[in-house]
């Protein structure tokens, strides 16, 4: 059966992609941010996942307000970068793990989760930036992807606990998938930021740091928080952090944190990264 080898969390701020595009990686504003991801990139290189399940939100690029799926799952052969207003970014298209996507959709429906099914869809920075942060800029991506889109823009948005529950179903789908492929799950978004209203520019480094601890040690606490609490603590757009719970819900209660990084502000956002493995199956090399 397929195997879950790690849970990764990361911000997906669009300015990160723009900074790479403009060659600003090593400027004083950005270097400390990008350097913090080096251990995450090394982890990925060492553990060689075959498939990356990426949970993110579309930011008014692939979906407009005419149709807003609460949860959508991609099952396309290929996902091209969407034109967000500046033209599609020059990064390679992502190859889809089509067969697993369908298996996951089956498992979801059988578990009373009813996602929108997307056979043809372009993708925005929500998935692009996390892929670039962990895999850099290869000529071709060395993993196939399964995009999970979560609506965190148009209210009512889903409950944090629902995201966590979806993670459990994802785990079940991976462990019932009859190949020996290695899976990672990327929970993306956040951390604290607010783009709208007079509180624009709100960041909360203390809450962000606490989140990076709790996501490993006390995910139930994060799953039981209300949407309003997320908005209050992390800002109106920072509430998207709840998407990390899909990733965390797929992992065991006990995890080992391999790497962690926090930097503020990346553009207008508290930016963070985490790499976790299930304790029971953690790789021995660094398990000391």
């Amino acid at each position: 059966m397929a195997k879950l080898i790690g849970g990764l969390g990361t911000s997906h701020v669009p300015s990160i992609g723009a900074a790479i595009d403009k060659g600003l990686r090593d400027t004083p504003d950005w270097k400390p941010f990008f350097d913090g991801y080096i251990p995450g990139q090394e982890w990925v290189k060492e553990h060689k996942p075959d498939v990356a399940v990426v949970i993110f939100n579309d930011h008014g690029n692939s979906f407009f307000l005419d149709k807003v799926p609460t949860f959508a799952v991609g099952c396309a052969e290929e996902y091209r970068p969407v034109d967000e207003g500046w033209g599609p970014r020059a990064i390679p298209p992502f190859k889809g793990a089509v067969d697993f996507s369908w298996h996951f959709i089956d498992t979801l429906i059988e578990s009373r989760f009813d996602p929108m099914i997307c056979q043809e869809i372009e993708v925005d920075h929500g998935i692009q930036v996390p892929m670039e942060l962990f895999w850099g800029r290869p000529a071709e991506w060395p993993v196939r992807v399964v995009p999970i889109f979560v609506n965190v823009i148009q209210y009512p948005i889903p409950l944090p606990s629902r995201c966590y529950e979806m993670g459990r179903v994802l785990r079940q789908a991976i462990e019932s998938y009859p190949t020996d492929e290695r899976f990672v799950i990327l929970g993306t978004g956040g951390l604290s930021h607010q783009l709208q209203g007079a509180r624009a520019g709100f960041v909360n480094p203390q809450a962000d740091q606490a989140f990076l601890n709790d996501i490993a040690t006390d995910p139930e606490k994060l799953a039981s928080m209300s949407r309003e609490q997320y908005v209050e603590l992390f800002g109106s757009e920072g509430a998207e952090l709840m998407m990390w719970l899909v990733m965390r819900g797929a992992m065991d209660r006990d995890v080992v944190v391999r790497h962690k990084h926090y930097f503020v502000p990346a553009s207008m956002t508290g930016a963070g990264m985490i790499v976790m493995e299930n304790k029971a199956t953690a790789s021995p090399a660094v398990a000391a």
Binding site: G60, N61, L195, G197, A200, V264
Partner: protein, 117 residues
């Protein structure tokens, strides 16, 4: 679309709820259009005519044409859509933030984002 004061439970934090989504539909649809190159060109050539295509009210048009971000958001514009205006008429996201916060840009960077400027 009038905003009742105190309606948002978290101060100065407009949630994109049913009321805002309904009220802001025209502005957001217009802005969503800017993800097509031909529409960006049309916006550049004749902004007023482009906005008319989406049936914007005079109030909405005024907010867009004066780049009054705070007002666009008050009218139901959502940043993820209206940000596309900055692809045609460049402005930094931090300037949009500072404008909504009613702060000078440097002051915004220092006091909201904790940057040393």
């Amino acid at each position: 679309m009038e905003e009742k004061p105190g309606q948002d439970r978290i101060p100065d934090t407009p949630l994109f709820d049913r009321k805002r989504s309904l009220g802001g539909y025209r502005i957001n649809k217009m802005a969503m259009g800017l993800s097509k190159p031909e529409n960006r060109e049309a916006f550049k050539q004749d902004e007023s005519a482009y906005l008319d295509r989406f049936g914007l009210t005079p109030e909405e048009k005024e907010a867009v044409m004066t780049r009054n971000w705070r007002e666009m958001v008050r009218l139901g514009g959502n940043l993820f859509f209206i940000l596309k205006i900055s692809a045609v008429d460049p402005v930094r996201i931090t300037e949009i933030g500072a404008h909504q916060a009613g702060m000078d840009h440097d002051d915004f960077l220092r006091n909201r984002l904790g940057k040393k400027v």
